[in-house]
């Protein structure tokens, strides 16, 4: 029987291999090579590919470029804040959803809705909410309560960080609770019941049973939130368009080619390779740490 499939392996797997090589593998390898050259997009400065080879110059330049370093710091800050908020919010929501006896699926359906809509469209709506509803109606000098920290959030470097986190939490929580609810439902009921008979209170039960049993879900949600926050682009463009120093890495790589003339694609590509290494390193470390903490029953 295996022979039957092996004989047909090549023609059936070929379309996938062609797509993979054409869209991912080849551009990835070429991208690494080009990041060591003075590539200008349509030509190589200095002649042929070999003549334009510049070694690590683009990488050194990237780390010396203020815009890139600012974007890197801003991305890390945003990722830290957003990962914590999204996880806390969605975990609390999931605990509530598994606590109630009725109607959990209706809530789940509503919470999931923002996830279906594009980051650009949502960014525009929230831009208005931050600029008009927050700044004038709710938290402005003549608003319901005056909280200056919550006004003009899209026009300030630090406030925009939180504006972006609010927007992204609103969008992502509905997705993440699907994973947490699934994890919570997989925890055997007799474990928590046994613990409460033994006299464990709510907090003891949560930290000694729920959290360790939920580790597989933490692994997935942390992976997803980390990588999505790190790669955020659409919402960043829609909310602030990188003004006030709010450019994140994905936008920085996209806009680098517009920052100079002729466009420096070699530099942009070096930034992209650094971006890849960072994401790969962070997610691999995270997954190996959290999955080590997973307990087998």
């Amino acid at each position: 029987m295996e022979k039957y499939y092996k004989r047909r392996f090549a023609p059936l797997a070929l379309p996938a291999v062609i797509l993979f090589v054409m869209v991912i593998l080849l551009p990835f390898v070429i991208g690494i090579v080009y990041s060591f050259t003075s590539w200008r997009g349509t030509y190589f400065a200095g002649g042929t590919l070999f003549e334009s080879f510049v070694g690590f110059e683009n990488y050194i330049k990237a780390f010396k470029t203020k815009k890139f370093m600012d974007a890197l710091v801003y991305t890390v800050k945003f990722t830290l804040i957003a990962v914590v908020i999204i996880n806390l919010v969605s975990l609390c929501m999931s605990l509530l959803a598994t606590y109630i006896h009725k109607g959990a699926s209706a809530y789940r359906t509503i919470y999931f809705l923002p996830n279906l809509l594009g980051g650009l469209a949502l960014g525009y709506i929230w831009q208005f909410i931050f600029q008009i509803v927050f700044s004038k109606l709710l938290f402005g000098p003549e608003g319901v309560i005056s909280i200056p920290a919550l006004t003009n959030m899209t026009q300030d470097n630090t406030k925009a960080l939180f504006a972006l986190a609010i927007l992204f939490t609103w969008q992502q929580a509905g997705y993440m609770i699907l994973i947490y609810i699934n994890g919570l439902n997989n925890i055997p009921k007799d474990l928590t019941e046994a613990a409460s008979i033994d006299g464990a209170n709510v907090f003891q039960r949560f930290f000694n049973i729920t959290v360790p049993m939920l580790m597989p879900s933490f692994t997935i949600v942390f992976f997803l939130t980390l990588s999505r926050c790190f790669m955020l682009l659409d919402q960043n463009i829609a909310l602030t368009d990188g003004d006030f120093g709010t450019r994140m890495l994905a936008m920085q790589i996209l806009r680098t080619t517009r920052d100079s003339s002729p466009p420096n694609y070699g530099l942009a590509q070096a930034q992209a390779v650094i971006f890849f290494v960072l994401i790969a390193a962070v997610t691999i470390v995270q997954v190996s740490i959290t999955s080590k903490k997973e307990v087998e029953l």
Binding site: M1, E2, R8, F9, L12, A13, P15, A16, L19, F20, M22, V23, I24, L26, P27, F28, G31, Y34, G41, M93, Y99, I100, H101, Y107, R108, T109, I110, Y111, F112, L113, N115, L116, L117, G118, G119, L120, A121, Y124, I125, W126, Q127, F128, I129, Q131, I132, V133, L137, W170, Y175, I179, N182, I220, L224, L233, I237, Q269, A272, F275, F276, I279
Partner: protein, 283 residues
Amino acid sequence: MHTTMSGRQKAGQVIAHIVMILIAIYTLFPIVFLVFNSFKSNSEIVDSPVSLPTQWSFQYIISAAQQINFFKAIGITFMITFLSVLLLVVVSSLAAWVMVRSKSVLSRVMYLGFTAAMLVPFQAVMYPLLNIFENIGLKNIPGLIIMYGGFGLSMSVFLYHGFIKSVPQSLEEAAIIDGANIFQMFFQVVMPLLRSTTVTVIVTNAMWIWNDYLLPFLVIGNREGAKTLTLELYFAKLTSGQYGNPWELIFPAVFVTIIPIIILYIFLQRYIVSGVADGAVKQ
């Protein structure tokens, strides 16, 4: 014990529901708000953003729909999404199936390659990819569909691969004995068994392809008559935003672009939510 706790438990349930309803209102607020403001003029939007429109006039929606070439753009977006997802489903299910069944070293290497590619962010391949596709004359809509096919592949192969491992092979053997060829066997015997995974693959890929901004922006850009809904929205905001924000255009434009998704969600929410949940958990 239950009788003494029931009062407290009831109160707990009520409080939990109140909190969840508040969160639901918070979740829906921006969307309801969007609908209201799609019927207002610019000055009315800015002056009284949270109130109901004084009159439900469709003029802003109609002019926004015209400005973003709504019907043309939705047609293009639908075509791109449909063909990309179709390509993905057929290619990835066939590849994953034959990879699971043949159990060769090559298939294991391929599986490793596909899963490792999930770590590669789009930005890392973006510029060389565009360069290659431009050189072979594919910097257009067909090229865009091929790109989506490539980018969705890893995840889809991974999902199918995981599921097919648990599908018994005996049915396929019976089909061969009955004289079916490999395609008959795959599409009539194997594919129906993969239905739940296919739903997941369709939903997760359709969601991001439909809303995607970056790839169409890079491939199509501001080309007349080829823009997707998201692109039309982006350029409408960009070109009219030079003199302050034209909210009477932005709100109805965003509104019309999300109507199809909302309608689809109302009818298919069960499949969409469970499809996404299955996919997320299997990662």
